[in-house]
Every structure is written in structure tokens, then in C-alpha cells.
């Protein structure tokens, strides 16, 4: 059948329906030199379409493991994860990941990196791919840098390229693993704004992992507090504030101190319980 190539570009740039995620009874343990660690202990969790969920917790609480399982990069020992009712068994580009370190490919320039995922979509022409890539580079405000090498970019710019690369194949879910942890405060603040704007524009379901409580309160519709060993959801907070939110706002401080108190009380309890 004759394909109308001209139609595919606008099709490609359409906002796709975000996924609904269902995590059902997921457990995962690791063997380390100090013994067996239960990274995730029967975690159950629903993430709604276009919801922004932040998972916050101390390091080693299994939050990254959960993200990897949703991405399909790791398999749970038991339980399962469903995306729109279908079980996740392998990585797929409807769920893209943005890693803590940029994970950009140094042998490609900025445009080449954003094109990487698009080249795996056979239905697009090369021109379409470039147009799509440029659209996302504009979205993250990096149009001028499409020919730049990765090492020439600042940390914040690298993460913006990584965001464009993750958005370009038009996923339904965006999984973010402490993407701003290595950046300075000022750059981070700007990226909070960018991310909220892009999330609103592109309507993605986002699961965002962080150890920064304030960041979680700023970005999430919902904040899940994880506790380590065994990894469990300790508490859940709804953040009912208008967007775009400013990380420095007083209202936000109220939420983040509430989460922080809960985190600290848990740590204190645990310290007391130890012999």
C-alpha cells in the first residue's frame, strides 16, 4: 500500500496517551558481600495516566531497582508490573529512562544522540527523524548546540540533551533516576521549571526517583517515601499545589518538612530498635 510519508511527521509529534502503571506485589533481593538484601519487599503501587510520582528515600532503599524493573532492565523475583494492563517483560521504548549520569554517547554529537532512538523507528524517513529531533532540542532549548560534542556541554545541558533523547521516541512513560543529583542548585531550579513545562505539554506518566525531599515535593503530584532494607513504601504524600511550582515557595516548604519529619522519625525508630 502507498504510504503518505508527509503524514507521518505530524503523527509522530502527536501527544501519545500516557500509560497507567500497576506494580503488583513486586519483590527483589540481592546478594552482597554482607549478605542478602531485600531491596523491594512486596511493593504494590498504582501510577495513573499522566501522573507525576516521585519516589524519595535514602540510598539503598530499592528505589532505583524499582525503576529498573518498570523499565524492564531487571526482573523481579516475584510479582509483576503492568503497563496499561500488559505485563512488562523487557525494555521498550514506550518507557524511556533518564539516568543519573547523562549516559549520552560520546561518539555522537548532540543531534546524533537524540536521533539514536528515532533511527530504530522504521516507519520514519531520515528527514522526519531530523525534524523530530530538532523539535525536541527546541523543547529543551538546545537548538544552537545540535552539532556540539557531548564533552563540550555543561552538566545541565547534558541532562537536557538526555531529556530530549528520552522524549524523542515519544514514550508513554518517562522514568527518571536522580537525573539532577549531580547538578548545581541554580541549574537544577531551571530544570525543574523546564521539566514541569514539558510534562504539561507532552503529557507523560513520570516516575521520578530522588533522595532530595524538596525536589520530590516540588515535582510530584504524589510523593512516596521509601524505607530501606527491606525496601517498602513507608508513607505516601499528596502534594496539592498549583503548577508550575517554585522550589523556593513557602507552601512547598511545608510539604517537604512534613516528608522530612516522617523520614527522620522512621530513622530514629529504627536506630532505637537496634540493639
Amino acid at each position: 500500500m502507498f504510504r503518505h510519508k508527509t503524514g507521518s511527521l505530524s503523527e509522530e509529534l502527536q501527544v501519545v496517551a500516557p500509560s497507567k502503571l500497576a506494580i503488583e506485589n513486586v519483590s527483589k533481593s540481592f546478594h552482597t558481600t554482607t549478605g542478602k538484601v531485600l531491596a523491594l519487599d512486596r511493593i504494590s503501587l498504582q501510577v495513573n495516566e499522566a501522573e507525576f510520582v516521585c519516589i524519595v528515600g535514602p540510598s539503598g532503599c530499592g528505589k532505583t531497582t524499582l525503576l529498573n524493573i518498570i523499565a524492564g532492565l531487571e526482573k523481579p523475583d516475584s510479582g509483576r508490573v503492568l503497563a496499561d494492563g500488559k505485563p512488562i517483560i523487557s525494555p521498550g521504548r514506550d518507557r524511556l529512562v533518564m539516568f543519573q549520569e547523562s549516559a549520552l554517547f560520546p561518539w555522537l554529537n548532540v543531534l546524533g544522540n537524540v536521533l539514536f532512538g528515532l533511527k530504530l523507528k522504521p516507519q520514519l524517513t531520515n528527514k522526519d527523524r531530523r525534524d523530530v529531533a530538532r523539535y525536541y532540542l527546541e523543547l529543551v532549548d538546545l537548538t544552537r548546540f545540535e552539532r556540539a560534542n557531548i564533552h563540550e556541554l555543561s552538566g545541565g545541558m547534558k541532562q537536557r540533551v538526555a531529556l530530549a533523547r528520552a522524549l524523542a521516541p515519544n514514550p508513554r512513560v518517562l522514568l527518571m533516576d536522580e537525573p539532577f543529583a549531580a547538578l548545581d542548585a541554580l541549574t537544577r531550579e531551571q530544570l525543574y521549571g523546564d521539566l514541569q513545562r514539558i510534562w504539561k505539554e507532552r503529557k507523560k506518566t513520570i516516575v521520578f526517583v530522588t533522595h532530595n525531599v524538596r525536589e520530590a515535593a516540588c515535582l510530584g503530584d504524589r510523593v512516596l517515601l521509601f524505607s530501606p532494607n527491606p525496601g517498602r513504601i513507608q508513607e505516601e504524600f499528596l502534594v496539592d499545589l498549583p503548577r508550575p511550582r517554585d522550589i523556593n515557595s513557602v507552601d512547598l516548604a511545608g510539604y517537604s518538612s512534613k516528608i522530612m519529619r516522617s523520614l527522620k522519625s522512621f530513622n530514629a525508630e529504627r536506630a532505637a530498635a537496634k540493639p
Binding site: P91, G92, R93, F99
Partner: protein, 254 residues
């Protein structure tokens, strides 16, 4: 321009020094010929075609053997990086044989292939292959796992990951292995050509050897200069641009 000038001056001084040593008659003119005699030898060898022919023969041996070594070495290196079985067997073999100076292959090659092109090719391949295998394996094993994971999430699979992620990510290692392989191959070929007369064609090494037999020092030095120039050109024309590109892309220069 200033850099170019300083290079010119440096070599001019070197030549003058040589001329002075010759003039001062510290050593016999048979052992230290004048720069002019060496130049005249080279002019003559170019004019009668011996130099061109010898260079072509040597370069053909080198390039064919080198290409075979690379084309074989990179896939074998990928195998050793991918499967433990290959790492324990082929990888260990490569590591061991790489420590063997490749000139040590010459006696074996002569007994197997006789005084033929095949013997020379064999020596060049042995000089290249092991370095390329080891460098490829090291390169692949040094690729940060996060590249693979990122590619997986974007829908890249098996072969696509190998060709579009692992190989390019390992490229700096592979290129340095290719450079080392080139050095080994070039040295062992020269040694082999000096060491044995290959009946199928006289290369640069043979000219060097004949120079010694005839006590024609101007020929010995002239051919040595040619060998140095070829080595320099290979570096400047082939390896330097690749390395410059890698440094530029990866941001590893100085």
C-alpha cells in the same frame, strides 16, 4: 608557520652536523658517507626504479597482512569479550602470543611456506592480530554498562547494540590496538626481510641487507631514511587524523 620553520631549521642543523662529521674525517668515509652521497644513491635508486619497486613490494606485504590482522582481530576480540569460553581460551592465547616478539615467527614461517610471500604475510598477520584482539577485548570490557542499558531502553537489540553502541564506544581502545599492531607488523616485516631473502620479490629490508653485503653505506643509510619516512607518513596520514577525531569527539585531548 613558526612551527614549520623550527622543523626546517632543526633538520638543516642535523644535516650540517652530519656534513661536519664527514669533513672532519673522524671515521672512515666508508662508514660515514657524506649526506650528498646518500642523496645521490637515493636519486639513482629512484631513477632506475629499484626503490619504487622495493617500496611497493614491502608496502603490499604490510598492507595485506595488516588488513587481514585487523579484519580477523576485531571479530575475534569481540568474541573473547562476549563469551567467557573464548576469553579463557583464545584470549589467553592472544595474551601469550602478543608477548612473543613477532620476528620469532620467521623460522616457523620459512619452514611452513618457504621463501615466499606467504611467509612474509604470515609474519605480518602474527604481528598485528594479537594486539588487535587484546585491544578490542579490553575496549569492549571497558564500555560503561550504562550505554548498553540506555540503548536497550531505546529499543536497540543484540546486533544493533554491538554495531551502534559497543563497537563505537570501544573505538579509542581499538584504534590504539591497531596502532600497536601496525608498529609490531612493520618492525617484524623489516626484520624478516633483512633476515631472509624472499625469492618472490625484493623489499626494502632486502635492499638494506644488500647494502651491508656490498659495504655500500650510502645505500644502508638511504634505505633507513626511507623506512623512517614511511613510518612517519603512516602515522601522519593514517593514525593522526583518526586520533585527532577521537580526541575531539571524546574530549580527551591534552
Amino acid at each position: 608557520m613558526r612551527r614549520f620553520l623550527s622543523v626546517i631549521i632543526f633538520f638543516a642543523v642535523l644535516l650540517l652536523l652530519w656534513q661536519w662529521v664527514f669533513k672532519a674525517k673522524i671515521w672512515s668515509p666508508v662508514l660515514v658517507p657524506s649526506p650528498l652521497r646518500v642523496w645521490n644513491y637515493l636519486k639513482g635508486a629512484i631513477a632506475d626504479g629499484t626503490l619504487e619497486q622495493a617500496t611497493l613490494i614491502t608496502m603490499r606485504r604490510l598492507l595485506i597482512g595488516y588488513l587481514v590482522g585487523i579484519i580477523g582481530g576485531i571479530p575475534l576480540g569481540l568474541l573473547t569479550a562476549r563469551w567467557t569460553l573464548f576469553r579463557d581460551t583464545l584470549g589467553t592465547t592472544a595474551l601469550g602470543l602478543q608477548t612473543l616478539p613477532s620476528i620469532c615467527w620467521v623460522p616457523l614461517a620459512l619452514l611452513w611456506f618457504g621463501q615466499t610471500e606467504a611467509a612474509m604475510l604470515f609474519v605480518v598477520v602474527m604481528g598485528t592480530l594479537w594486539s588487535v584482539i587484546i585491544a578490542t577485548e579490553t575496549g569492549v570490557r571497558n564500555v560503561p554498562p550504562i550505554y548498553r542499558r540506555a540503548a536497550l531502553t531505546m529499543g536497540s537489540k543484540r546486533l544493533h547494540i554491538w554495531f551502534k553502541v559497543i563497537l563505537p564506544a570501544a573505538l579509542p581502545f581499538i584504534v590504539s590496538g591497531m596502532k600497536q599492531g601496525w608498529a609490531f607488523a612493520w618492525r617484524s616485516l623489516m626484520a624478516a626481510e633483512i633476515f631472509v631473502t624472499i625469492l618472490t620479490g625484493f623489499g626494502l629490508g632486502q635492499l638494506l641487507h644488500f647494502g651491508r653485503e656490498q659495504q655500500a653505506m650510502e645505500q644502508v643509510i638511504g634505505i633507513m631514511v626511507v623506512i623512517v619516512v614511511i613510518g612517519l607518513l603512516a602515522d601522519k596520514i593514517f593514525f593522526s587524523p583518526i586520533e585527532r577525531f577521537l580526541h575531539h569527539r571524546w574530549g580527551t585531548s591534552q
